[in-house]
Symmetry: D2
Subunit: 306 residues, 4 copies
């Protein structure tokens, strides 16, 4: 890892901040007061879904080994339980990567230098127990103030270019557009518009190359004590990476150093439209991950309530 990485890491590291036994990192910043205050700001009651539909024709192209799109099949169709003419039931199952579609990265999704968040040994993730520390089920109910940082709209474009690195300056501009000061316990949703490529049917273009967050953004979130961050790309951070050969540095900084969960493949298009129309970029966000015990990630069906 280059020196730059280590310097940033030192400035944003949260290990021990909530005690040696903490497993949820910046989710500690979501307080009942934040939730209460945000609920009070709900003025329209409009609910906007941010999840992609779960289907085999999902965003995965096979590039990430094992992260398979939802394979959803029926185990029974109109089975008459007590004989002909009686009530009939249908049932279904799925096989899918927990990070295949709209998801949260659990804190254990990434390690570096043999360590997970809060200094836990990377080897604590095993086949048998999955993530012994910071499993995604530990996150509990994620409900807080969400703020849309519409970098795309702030730049006056429909979609960021494939090579666009989202910088702290971009976030500043989006915050200004939002007219909101991002603060303690907020969940920041960063819009790049990249997901339009998938929605238009071009999975390959969606995957790579992709705009995404700069290695300089974790400090921006750290300074504001943000609880979590999500965006509308497959890789979250710029890909190919800013610094050649340094893959997923933002993941390492956010998840391992700060203990801050990241969301990916969130569809922010309708939300962007709604916020622009309402001239309001903060809302109540309900985004509880499916509580897979020991999961290193989890599907989520987030909803913004304006």
């Amino acid at each position: 890892m280059p020196a730059e990485f280590h310097e940033i890491a030192k400035r944003i590291n949260n290990w021990g901040r909530w005690g040696d036994t903490d497993e949820i990192g910046t989710l500690n910043l979501i307080t009942e007061a934040v939730v209460r205050a945000t609920a009070a700001t709900v003025t329209s009651g409009r609910r906007i879904p941010l999840a992609l539909p779960l289907q085999q024709d999902g965003v995965q192209t096979g590039v990430i080994p094992g992260r398979v799109n939802p394979l959803h099949t029926m185990t029974g169709i109109n089975v008459e339980l007590a004989g002909p003419g009686t009530v009939a039931t249908s049932d279904d199952i799925v096989t899918m990567g927990l990070q295949a579609a709209t998801h949260w990265d659990g804190l254990a999704h990434v390690s570096h230098s043999g360590r997970l968040y809060n200094g836990r040994p990377a080897e604590s993730i095993t086949t048998h127990g999955r993530a012994a520390f910071s499993g995604v089920e530990k996150a509990g109910p994620i409900v807080s103030r969400g703020v849309l940082l519409d970098v795309t709209r702030a730049r006056g474009v429909d979609r960021l270019d494939a090579g666009h690195v989202v910088t702290p300056e971009d976030l500043d501009a989006a915050e200004e557009l939002a007219g909101v000061t991002v603060g303690r316990g907020d969940i920041a949703l960063i819009r790049t518009g990249q997901i339009q490529r998938y929605l238009a049917g071009d999975k390959q273009a969606y995957t790579y190359p992709s705009p995404g967050l700069s290695i300089r953004t974790p400090e921006w979130f750290h300074a504001r004590d943000v609880a979590a961050v999500a965006n509308d790309t497959l890789t979250f951070e710029i890909f190919p990476p800013e610094i050649e050969g340094l893959w997923l540095p933002v993941h390492a900084l956010d998840l391992v150093e700060m203990g801050m969960m990241q969301g990916q493949n969130w569809n922010l298009e309708e939300l962007s439209q709604a916020c622009a129309e309402a001239r309001r970029y903060a809302f109540l966000l309900a985004a509880t991950p499916e509580p897979f015990v020991g999961g290193v990630g989890a599907p989520v069906a987030p909803v913004a309530i304006l």
Copy 2:
């Protein structure tokens, strides 16, 4: 089907009520006004999770063919993406029945007499397209006022007996305890305490026999224009059934006739405690199903916000 079933069905039938093309039934009753009004009542900001942890040691015992507990495995553990010493990722997948744990029944989960909700032909569910009508992804974001109808507490017991049929009179008593008038667009959560058996490690006792809702309850919900109902049992309704040989009549009435989604395996224990302490049984409920395209059911991680 006995005459009693058909008489009730006639009184509560909602086919055509929201047009011939409607696929979501009583979810139409959730209005922005309901959400807005409920958000304003959030006074503590406390968030209570209602989902069971997702794990192989889940509630399924094999009795329902194909409805398998989550089988959650790792596809990679600390894989160093760009060579030794670089950032490492872990990844996981799952195979599970969509109704294996805490879930919503989609409207297409049940048919009777060859019909689904709103008169759609049962044959519209196929392996290839799954549920063509009323797939669970059509439900969209489910956020509304939740009301806990704590039948157990209202009867002054810790847990209903295995053979207890939850009647409209039980619901009246629970409504009185709640001090709330259940109304249009509400989501009613009915507590029986049965899930304690699973939480205590006895899956078999949880499964069967089980207390549950009476064939007389759909009318109670219909009269109040409730949007959806969930409880803390595997079968939702009393099992074995009230009328010998008439399996799942409540499913048929709720899902097919009324077009009202049902939730099962919801853990209402912590919520019961919290409501009793706060002397408050209504709250903001965020319970959006994972949007499986054509799903006849879906996992959900519901949260009550008080």
Copy 3:
């Protein structure tokens, strides 16, 4: 379907040949005498495997919906069953399309005009029971004389061109090279060399376009009373098809009309080398499908014993 198809179909149709209740078609042609006679010809004892390794990096590219490559994960690694220091076990699971790798098409894999082999209604395949007739488990143990028809070698090339249609004349030439008269109960293995493309890492080129069998070949097999046929391509027959718009006519003729199972993705490279060296193209073939009840296809690990 064009007239040509129907004319061929009439000439090769085997419906009723082994009775109205038959479910295995030309496998009836394998007699104990064939097996006994072939066993007597084993002169070297050499065993040649014909299956591709089962792995996620398999031949499927996503073109066939749901036919997923083997996703093979561990459910336990070195789990010490009775405490530290005791014997430890590892365990694994797989999710895969039954026809994802080296496989047999079951007779129920294809229908046309609403019919399966022996006139069974196509609707007899359901989600609940899978193939009620001619499920792949009905095939039983498939062991017979195998004959390699090395069309590639007979033409003096390393691999057939992508657009090469394997004709009856090609089969004649390969039979002559083999020095064997293909006969009753034999299993014919047709080599095109196409699988070299996959083995060399180019899945896309392997998939499409592909050489394969002509619509004229079923008559060749029918005339000789062959029991089954397999080759080294993904689609078995020429693709794109010989007659524009007529997809999978050979499947329809072989499986539905003749009741003859087809194998695909068989690796015939080592076998080709061995046969050429031994100047011997007939052998004992053990190729029993995994007996999935109601399966429309099944993985197989075939072995040629020379």
Copy 4:
């Protein structure tokens, strides 16, 4: 591990016998000569299948975590590929434990004292690569002489009692009944009759308690240089174990020390009848495992050819 275990282990250990890089152990003992000689003994051409049907109602009861019965669903039923009236295909997938039904234990299935067969470190099994050494795909084509050791018939009973430990003396008696000297490269099939319990519908009784092989049997196989062993039980060895607290000692001796693969859940009932009628207990056995790369076990559809 008790002293007795270590003493036996010392006497039967095969590490290094076929070189330090060997990964297949006693399969080395199957020579072309053995196969050739056995093929010459095929006198009837009768083929007897030894695999259980693969279905959800399989032998697994949930006792072994993650080892799930085959969950077999359709991904398409009669899908008309090129539009209405054209050829239609059906397709299916499965999720299953590789050792769920009739299977081979790969050599990497068990470790003890941190070691696998041939001294390989147990840690060489990983989620990412699965078994780096002795993966089941390394076994290659398993075809050899099979010998039925019908312990049940030799004792004059229909089925061994649940507590019956199969001893070397039992094997001697069965060998005498067989009229065959078990020798180098043979695959021994040991019949207990226990599988009758599953076939009769009582999975629980099949599982446990179960008759099975004694800790004294590995020496018997070692003395004869047997290539592999299989039987008709879930656990292979007596369960509960002979020596209290010493779980799976026979697995540890056979797989780790000798490098000898074990088969379980083989249905030997029809074979027993056939051998008794033919007064012949040796045959050609084709039992090639599905070649899962890095698999610690694999399904197999074995066939005895008499």
